[in-house]
């Protein structure tokens, strides 16, 4: 399965995603420069975290205009799996591939720490190896991770099973004190209505190896591999 990792000037998790795909998953992977266009040569696209174009404007607001994101929209519309992590999630929102928007964290600070997220939907390309309601230990690192969507949009997300991850306690309990950034309905990750595009604020690539502090992120990457197996 061939992965592509889009590199914007200012991306800083591109190397990390590349590393996990290549050295942990053992899959072929290439960088895609933001100025380039691409087509069907990839089986999965990762939009990595970082500060694309410095994010001096609204996060992800400039990245959406890049040629690579144009190709990404085509790729996603044709059903290819796309995973946007952190700034990648923000870019997917700005590009319209996902619904909603990001506000600043309620404490008005950047937050970097391990949190727990509960898997809300295991019938996706990204979570099919998880158990129902499984809790993952996974780090966040962002300034604008306070997901917002209006009530109508939220209702749609719920009725289509598009909410994939919610912030929770270690035991899977959902409560305000486990919501690190104020996200609406504790949302940490959602898909599009077709289910092939995932955006999430936590960083699975940061917890995919034994030497780090959790390997729960690997479940997400392995699910992608497993999905194509299931599909074919």
């Amino acid at each position: 399965m061939k992965f592509g990792v889009i590199v914007f000037p200012g991306s800083n998790c591109d190397h990390d995603c590349f590393h996990v795909v290549k050295n942990v998953l053992g899959q072929p992977v290439e960088y895609i420069w933001h100025d380039d266009i691409f087509g069907g040569e990839f089986d999965c696209i990762i939009v990595p975290g970082g500060f694309s174009y410095g994010d001096y404007l609204r996060t992800g607001a400039i990245a959406r205009f890049s040629p690579a994101v144009n190709s990404l929209i085509d790729f996603a519309n044709s059903g290819g799996p796309v995973i946007g992590i952190c700034n990648g999630f923000q870019i997917l929102l700005e590009s319209g591939l996902l619904k909603g928007a990001m506000l600043r964290n309620t404490n008005m600070h950047f937050i970097c720490k391990y949190v727990y997220i509960r898997v809300e939907n295991i019938d996706t390309p990204f979570t099919n190896l998880c158990k129902p309601n499984q809790v993952l230990k996974i780090p966040i690192a962002h300034n604008e991770g306070n997901y917002y969507i209006d009530e109508v949009g939220l209702k749609d997300l719920k009725s289509n099973n598009q909410i994939v991850f919610r912030y929770s306690s270690k035991e899977g309990q959902i409560a305000d004190k486990y919501n690190p950034n104020g996200a609406k309905d504790f949302i940490a990750g959602i898909t599009n209505s077709k289910g092939n595009v995932l955006g999430l604020m936590p960083h699975p690539e940061r917890c995919s190896e034994d030497v780090l502090n959790s390997t729960d992120g690997l479940l997400i990457f392995k699910s992608i591999l497993n999905w194509t197996k299931v599909k074919t």
């Binding site: 000037p9 200012g10 800083n12 998790c13 190397h15 990390d16 590393h19 996990v20 975290g49 970082g50 500060f51 174009y53 410095g54 994010d55 001096y56 600070h109 950047f110 937050i111 970097c112 720490k113 391990y114 780090p139 690192a141 300034n143 960083h203 690539e205 940061r206 995919s208 190896e209 030497v211 780090l212 502090n213």
Partner: protein, 736 residues
């Protein structure tokens, strides 16, 4: 015509100006004067410190590299490059940008050596938090570090923060950066004759002019406005610059490369020429500028950020230019490195400077008088019998754990991305940060340390303790101490009673490093850290790295399981001089610095490393501020997955109870281990003649410390946890 007012305005002394006239045999041009002023400033020329810096050991157990701008060690085929630098005065003036550009500057020093920056640490000092300006500074500095570090993609993995009235008028912001590279891919900061000189990165503006000569090389005086001398940082540009530079170095076309830091173009041009023994012909009209009608001397002095000077092979200009333009950065050919040894700067077809590069390197060397301060003996006198033993020792522990110098710093480190690059094995909040080296079975441990109060009480021993504690933090993580970078922060060196601390601290660092076999590979001196409020505490900040030889044998400080033995290595001594206990509880700063025996310390390191390597222990934590009791509480609370209680019922109270619990005697480590491993650990400690005692066991929902049957401390973990993790934020909010 150069006037006295002009050269003094640039920070030059009359004697120095006379020397310039002598060297040139004529009056300098304005540009030349500016060049001398920065190269001969304390910040660049080390005029008042070089004499002592020479004695620092440049070799140690690990093969050391000492480069032009940074240093490092070689481990197998990998070069680990690291350095620390201060950005004190800019941060006192404008905390966010001061700290941000401090981060940016030190990161550039690392990647210009060809190494990818993989981690930063910050060592900070502020006045106490009851002062509004200290709170403003802390918030601003933390904001600056997160603003720059998070965006640039280099994790901020550790550091330290202390608060003391003595930093009220002059905070300290020291930043350390670590990078790695294949050892044959390193770059040097020197020119090679015949090479093409290119300017790459951001364009040049009028920001930061005089930053190093005016701001960094003098005391703060009353009512001065120095904000215009602070630079503005752009981490996005720096991130692009990192990638473009590493790509450029990997082409093999780079002969030399240097960051434009302090004194910008002046420094990079003259120091690259000096280091390479070449001259340089430079055309300032080619410099990309962002403001119109900049004077040649302004271009030469600007400290605009995110710029570099590169010396490349002739004919490769276009290839290099292409790389930088891909990353949206300037690249312009300024001239050539020449064989005549003369730096020749042209602007609008006129020569504005023509100086032998060697002249600029000849910064004056001053032999500074030093004298033990008159107040020193009185400061060292402490009548222990007059210290009243508090009745409620549990209350004392709570007060200590909530005091800003001891309490957990998560309010700070949660604002820093400390995991990007996926190397961080041990997260902030343990004795040292540990980073795996990708593609190897090894890891780097890193820490910064300095108890400046000890250095004021006894600069020689205080500096030795800084080295000893840094090394102890590393061994507690399972790493062998390898090498040091330092930031020597001191007050006005022209005052003999201040300089005395500097001299003694350097001697202390030297002795301890030699003893432990660690080299000092890089560093920086920051003098003039004093204001109308007085001098800072002498603060020789030590950044030390160590090597973990087996990535599976990394240790952290938190207790892991119930019903395991708690072991104390080392001896409890009545060292309360300069302790937090004395200051927080008894409101005194006095006494002797703690006792330190380097050979005992070394024996402790050998013991701890051996028991970790043999897989015998679950945790290791050194005792420092707050003493044994604070360290035990930290062991209980540090395992984020599960806090674990402890019952300490076998402690010797052969000295006063409060001294056993809160004195800061050195060379002590708390271990936890399964009971079956205890005999083996005891044997290893015995072989190294390190005092060993099982003092209790883990488990329960509280920290209990007993003297025989008498309960001295009994505190619920929930209470300790909220005190430990929430006090810093509370003290920031409650008073703001």
């Amino acid at each position: 015509m150069i006037t006295q007012e002009m050269y003094e305005g640039l920070g030059l002394k009359e004697s120095e100006y006379k020397r310039i006239l002598e060297l040139l045999g004529r009056q300098p041009t304005l540009t030349e004067l500016a060049m001398f002023s920065v190269e001969w400033s304390e910040h660049c020329g080390y005029c008042r410190s070089r004499r002592w810096l020479k004695i620092l050991p440049k070799t140690g157990k690990f093969k050391s590299l000492v480069g032009e701008d940074s240093g490092g060690i070689i481990v197998d085929d990998i070069a680990i490059i690291f350095k620390a630098e201060s950005h004190n005065h800019p941060s006192q003036v404008e905390p966010k940008q001061g700290a941000a550009t401090g981060v940016g500057g030190i990161i550039r020093d690392i990647f210009t050596a060809g190494a990818r920056p993989i981690a930063s640490l910050d060592s900070l000092r502020f006045g106490t938090l009851d002062e509004p300006y200290s709170r403003y500074l802390l918030k601003g500095v933390v904001d600056g570090i997160q603003f720059y570090g998070n965006c640039v993609g280099v994790p901020t993995v550790g550091g330290e923060v202390y608060f003391n009235k003595r930093y009220s008028g002059n905070c300290l912001v020291n930043v350390m950066c670590i990078g790695v590279a294949p050892k044959d891919k390193l770059a040097r900061a020197k020119a090679v004759a015949g090479g093409i000189i290119m300017y790459v990165g951001s364009s040049t503006g009028k920001d930061g002019i005089g930053g190093c000569s005016v701001l960094a090389s003098a005391e703060f005086a009353e009512g001065e406005e120095k904000r215009p001398t602070v630079q503005i940082g752009d981490p996005f540009t720096e991130k692009c610059l990192i990638e473009a530079t590493l790509e450029t170095i990997s082409t093999g076309h780079v002969l030399g490369i240097k960051d434009m830091g302090a004194a910008g173009l002046t420094c990079s041009i003259s120091e690259m020429a000096q280091a390479g023994g070449t001259g340089m012909d430079i055309d300032l009209d080619k410099v990309p500028t962002r403001e119109r009608e900049m004077q040649p001397w302004e271009i030469m002095m600007s400290e605009s950020q995110e710029r570099m000077l590169v010396c490349i092979k002739e004919g490769k200009e276009e290839e290099i230019e292409k790389i930088f333009s891909k990353w949206g950065l300037n690249a312009a050919v300024l001239g050539k490195a020449t064989i005549d040894g003369i730096v020749r700067i042209k602007a609008k077809n006129e020569v504005v400077a023509e100086i032998k590069a060697d002249f600029l390197a000849e910064a004056p060397l001053y032999e500074m008088p030093h004298k033990k301060p008159d107040y020193q003996d009185e400061l060292n006198y402490l009548d222990l019998d007059k210290i009243v033993q508090p009745r409620n020792l549990g209350e004392v522990l709570i007060k200590l754990l909530s005091s800003p110098n001891i309490t957990n710093k998560n309010w700070i480190y949660h604002q820093y991305d400390h995991m990007v690059q996926v190397n961080t094995m041990v997260l902030p909040g343990s004795d040292a940060a540990v980073l795996r080296i990708k593609g190897t079975n090894k890891a780097i441990a890193a820490t910064t340390d300095c108890n400046a109060k000890y250095c004021e009480l006894n600069p020689l021993r205080g500096a030795q303790i800084a080295i000893a504690e840094a090394a102890r933090n590393l061994v507690c993580s399972g790493a062998e101490p390898a090498a040091v970078t330092d930031c020597l922060n001191f007050a006005n060196p022209e005052k003999p009673q201040r300089y005395w601390y500097f001299k003694n601290c350097v001697e202390g660092i030297t002795e301890a490093c030699q003893f432990f076999g660690v080299s000092v590979v890089s560093g920086n001196v920051s003098f003039y850290n004093e204001s109308p409020l007085g001098a800072i505490l002498p603060t020789p900040m030590i950044g030390m790295i160590g090597i973990v030889s087996d990535i599976k044998k990394v240790c952290t400080q938190g207790f892991k399981n119930e019903n395991e033995a708690i072991i104390l290595l080392g001896k409890n001594l009545p060292d309360i001089g300069g302790s937090e206990y004395l200051e927080v509880i008894h409101n005194q700063f006095k006494g002797q610095a703690p006792y330190l025996d380097l050979s005992q310390e070394k024996a402790l390191h050998d013991t701890v490393l051996k028991v970790i390597k043999d897989g015998l222990v679950q945790s290791a934590h050194d005792c420092s501020e707050g003493g044994l009791a604070a360290a035990l509480a930290e062991c209980c609370l540090s395992n984020s997955e599960k806090i674990t209680g402890a019952l300490i019922d076998n402690l010797d109270f052969d000295i006063r109870k409060d001294f056993v619990l809160f004195a800061e005697s050195q060379s002590r480590v708390i271990l936890s281990a399964s009971f079956e491993n205890v005999p083996k650990i005891k044997e290893i400690a015995g072989n190294n003649t390190v005092p060993f005692k099982v003092i209790g066991k883990t488990g329960g929902d509280s920290l209990k410390i007993l003297d025989n049957d008498k309960e001295l401390i009994n505190l619920k973990l929930d209470k300790l946890k909220s005190v430990w993790y929430e006090s810093l934020e509370e003290s920031l909010n409650s008073s703001s």
